[in-house]
Amino acid sequence: MPGKQAVQTICPFCGVGCGMHLLVDDQNRVAAVSPQGDHPISRGKLCAKGWSTPFAIEPGDRIRQPLIRTDDGFRPASWDEALEVIRYGLLDILSQLGPTAVGVISSARASNEDNYAAQKFARAVLGTNNIDHCARICHSPTVAGLKQTLGSGAMTNSAADIDSAEVLVVWGADATENHAILGGHIIEAKLRGATLIVVDPRRTRLAKLADLHLQVKPGTNILLVNALLHEIFRHGWQNQDFLDSRCEGADALRKSVRDTSPTQLADAIGVPAEQIEAMARTYGQANSAMILYGMGITQFVSGTFNVMALSNLALSCGQIGRPGTGINPLRGQNNVQGACDMGCLPNVYPGYQDVADPAVRQHVSDYWQCPLPDHTGLTSMGMTQAALRGEFKGLILFGEDPVVTDPDQNEVLASLKALDLLVVAELTMTETARHAHVVLPAASFAEKNGTFTNCERRVQRIHQAIPPVGEALGDWQWLGAIARQLGSSSLDWTNSQAVFDEMAGMTPSYSGMSYEKLARQHGLQWPCDDAAPEGTPTLHQTEFPIGRARLIPVHHVDIDEPADADYPLQLTTNRLHFHYGCGSMSRKSPLLERETPDGILFISPEDARNLRLKNHSAIGIRSRRGYLETRAIITDDLPPGLVSMPYHFSEAPSNQLTNRAMDPVSKMPELKVCAVRITPLPEGQAPRTIQSIRASAAPPSARENS
């Protein structure tokens, strides 16, 4: 029978935060999902991933009990035994190298309660600020950039604002694939008469529907913003009242774009000057214009500056602080906003309270009743580098698969192998978990209570629908068990509500929230406090957290690795509607797996012709960092000179190739562009998986270099 009961919860994929019911059958399995008709964002809709949720968490290949590494794999173990191994491992490292040699990587897929527990575990139990999560590789430049210009690094407006905006600018985001329900709202808005402008090097679905598509060269975002600002100031389309009353630095910004006319920059940007002028006219003269952006802004060495440039554009035109406006990062994972809010970052406590501020530290130390480390911690990639140097030895990681998702896979693998203790808690065996010393069985979102915070800052309840599979535990629960092993009772909560209440007691923007209040409506948007007891759909309406917003001139930064004679093509990365992150959940659906194309290198007809490739031809792709094989898919969605790969597939991971050159401010690696060379494989030869390339005695790279 389909649903003995229907349990209301939030979709576990992406940051949109759609409402769904889990239909639980008489054997306590999630038999099906159903969209929630009255949900304010999803309004009775789900995307392909959402509809396939039952497959993602089905018991089939779930990890059911702790596993301990042996010489030739893993052996099942009891929780007591696994915790003992972890305790000895951690105590060994702590006694030899101290707390700077251990750290935690938490999960943007886990709940706020889990993430709060993870950072508290790192800080209060291990004594280190080495805590990070995957926001490092999605929106860390957003947090860093908007914090400087506006004082708050989150979506300024709400999903519902898409309905009321006169102009929608989708910049470096493939919303119908990655945030499909929000992408659907954009289609709806366009059909109702909103003007849709898309800035993207790829011809995305929204680009095909747009009034204007600026198919820019990768890495030219700042040039485009400055050309737009030049045009806006030249015609007087800036909102002078807003600049005078709400911002500082307008004169310097205006001077900085004096020589950045569309005509001067059109060639460098790769689009006709007329298109830039048309965009400036439309955006500059709109009554309400909303910018939505994604990884096409952040994943560059210029990531933080790109975000600040967008901020300059929105502020100059006064397109912020009102419904239908704003600067809106589309966040990738279901709870990446929450993981940031919870302070799973090496430099801030929950609520973005500065670790380096002694007064803040004292306050948190009093609240937790324990001493706290005073040094800023390592980022995830900082932990990778420190591990390679032998300075970092113990890592606890959950719900992430950096071997697949982080740049420069070979280096990530080497760093994991250098650890004395790697603990991974997961639903299923991932590429990263294979390298663990101890694997712990984690409970899925359907097996626990808690909250997720979506990209519009909406904190929403998730409800337990089924018992945990096997001996799986929620993340705050097993973290608490490790803490107890180390003699700390600071993670001894009785239920998720107790975790939430403790968190809300120290996180100003969550201070007005409780499970009771969240249940009354479909969640609450932060800040929710005494001043805004019902939450805040639109930020910055009368003032910015830093008082006046800052306009900070930014200048073009070259991409780190342009194409050259040896590596003549540029590789960018994209995502598919059907898959999510490392694919550990979405690839369990036979339907979504079937949607995976035969090959995953997307290439323009021109480049394919030059390389004598047919559709589905087997190819090898090489960058300065790695090599992999797949098949080519010919599509005119890509311009000549640019190829693209999704990163979901562990057998052909784009992160073999990607560049780890980083944005100096946020440490975001430049995942959106690097140089590659493509060679057709001999006729009749099928592409090999990365695992078999690695295993083969004489890899092509060795042959070629010798």
Binding site: M1, P2, G3, K4, Q5, A6, Q8, H21, L23, A31, A32, S34, P35, Q36, G37, G44, K45, L46, C47, A48, G50, W51, P54, G60, T176, E177, A180, I181, G183, G184, I187, E188, L191, R205, K208, L209, H577, F578, P590, L591, R594, E595, D598, H616
Partner: protein
């Protein structure tokens, strides 16, 4: 046909609950098992999911093979009653009864079901059941019992032999003529309140005349995200995929709801795909629902006018959006 007056619905629910599981729609408009001794109030209107999943399971095992023997994995459900199935969904079940006539898994569940219909007295959002002969009055031969609210009570109509038997032991009074007249008046009034459906009639005509050009379908294909929402919620969609899973020397074949809007639905092993183009897939979906070619086989169109596709499509190409487009572009 026998008509009874029912003062308290709970009386009926409690009675049916003595011999069967009882399922009703919850406040969240989802089908849930109800406590027959203390049933929740009956909600009228469209449920999020139709009753499709009760018979054509979203996921199920269809056989096992242990290397020597094949074993069937037929479901053995206890008798159950669905209370409050809307008229459009009853028509859809009758439609699927034809499609799955010789499917033992479907039939194993279907044979155990008692269908208690509930007629709507106001149109639902996006609904157009009168246009496709599926409501608001329950269609003959689609149910066992039918409920219609009259005043503070209910008119209970017996519509099948199984329905008659299910009421044995329940003390009921025959409904007065006035109640039946009241039902007719309410249904006529409901039907009058449906919005204009000219675009649907024009669209169906254009579809069957073959006058919609390929570029119109292609434009709509760009809007199709292949989410599978329309086919999941459509009460007549019946396509399924299969997958063999092996564990401990046993291979289990499972089947699950598929969607013809997926690129991989018809892709062949050679990678050749006869419906490579998203627009062609959108066309195929609507062709299956409204082509006269299928009408011959099923005696009606494959659409029951519930409007769920319009409500759930993120790309704005549900029934009304599509029919408006194709009735204009001929």
């Amino acid at each position: 046909m026998i008509h009874y007056r029912l003062a308290e619905l709970a009386e009926l629910t409690r009675h049916l609950g003595r011999t069967r599981q009882v399922w009703q729609r919850s406040g969240a408009k989802e089908w849930c098992q109800a406590d027959a001794s203390n049933p929740p109030p009956l909600e009228a209107g469209r449920s999020v999911q139709s009753a499709k999943g009760f018979f054509f399971a979203e996921q199920e095992h269809i056989f096992e093979f242990d290397g020597r023997y094949f074993r069937e994995t037929l479901p053995k459900p206890a008798p159950f009653a669905l209370i409050g199935v809307s008229s459009c969904d009853l028509v859809a079940i009758a439609y699927q009864d034809q499609f799955f006539a010789s499917d033992p898994h479907y039939q194993a569940r279907r044979q155990q079901a008692l269908l208690v219909g509930l007629e709507c007295t106001v149109p639902c959002e996006h609904g157009f059941c009168p246009t496709v002969d599926a409501g608001p009055a329950a269609r003959p031969g689609t149910s066992d019992l039918v409920l219609h609210p009259v005043g503070n009570g209910w008119l209970l109509t017996v519509t099948s032999e199984q329905g008659r038997k299910s009421l044995q032991g329940l003390n009921l009074t025959t409904a007065p003529e006035a109640m039946k007249q009241q039902r007719q008046a309410q249904l006529a009034d409901c039907e009058r309140q449906f919005p204009d459906d000219q675009h649907i009639r024009d669209g169906v005509q254009a579809l069957n005349a073959g006058t919609v050009n390929a570029s119109t379908w292609q434009q709509m294909g760009v809007q199709c995200l292949s989410c599978s929402g329309c086919t999941s919620l459509c009460p007549t969609c019946s396509c399924y995929g299969v997958q063999d899973q092996s564990a401990d020397q046993t291979i289990t074949r499972r089947r699950f709801w598929d969607s013809c809007l997926y690129d991989g639905f018809q892709r062949e092993a050679s990678q050749h795909n006869p419906s490579d183009d998203a627009g062609a897939r959108v066309y195929r979906f609507w062709y299956h629902k409204f082509s006269d070619d299928f009408r011959k086989d099923f005696g009606r169109y494959g659409c029951v006018g519930c409007g769920r596709c319009e409500a759930t499509c993120p790309g704005v190409i549900g029934i009304h959006s599509v029919m408006k487009r194709i009735s204009q572009h001929d």
